[in-house]
Symmetry: C2
Subunit: 127 residues, 2 copies
């Protein structure tokens, strides 16, 4: 067998990494249906825990993730997908990466790194 093993868990974690910069953009989950859609469409499709349905990343904002390459780990239960992040921002808060907060473990201070690429209020509206 090759590829991720969905017999280990219904949902497997997926790390999205920017193919150009190497920045880690986000972590989300896929079920087998989302995985199949991703490899067939060439665009990353996650499964949303909270909404209990397929989450075609960027469907609303336009910030889709084009698949550049796919890796899976030694346990076949985690995926790493290198992507071309259309629109330049993966995070729904408008940042390039969801990991825009840096924590200083000594002081507990938090620093926002990276700038906002878009204003979430303008992209998602109030609906």
């Amino acid at each position: 067998m090759s590829g991720p093993n969905f017999e280990k868990a219904e949902l497997l974690p997926v790390i999205a990494q920017d193919d150009e910069s190497g920045d880690v953009l986000m972590l989300a989950y896929m079920n087998e249906e989302a995985w199949q859609e991703t490899i067939q469409s060439g665009r990353v499709c996650y499964y949303s825990h909270s909404r209990q349905k397929l989450w075609r990343k960027g469907e609303e904002s336009g910030n889709v993730q084009e698949v550049k390459s796919i890796f899976y780990d030694c346990d076949a239960d985690t995926l790493l997908i290198r992507v071309n992040q259309i629109g330049g921002a993966a995070c729904h808060e408008g940042y390039r990466s969801c990991f825009f907060r840096k924590l200083d473990p000594a002081s507990g201070d938090v620093e926002v790194i990276g700038e906002r690429v878009f204003d979430p209020n303008q992209v998602y509206g109030k609906s």
Copy 2:
């Protein structure tokens, strides 16, 4: 509140990224105790699902992960830690990264990328 929120889940996923190369090395989990030990010791300590205890990464192999910087995501339920991977290999199979298998979605072919840094049989022995 700042930092990861362990009220969301007992175990939070943690992405370890090589601070120099930007390579994603592995994904594992922390509970709050592992998190506290990590920030106090400056070495990454995970929590092992399967062994049900703290997993001081590299305790046996010597391949510890020195914390370089810590980020958490917009939902405060995922950590990204940039590390200095001592010994050059994060994966128990001896590879630099656990994501050493690349999958071609069109053909289903799997290619091993990256070379073995150590031979697991020599490092872990038979005990």
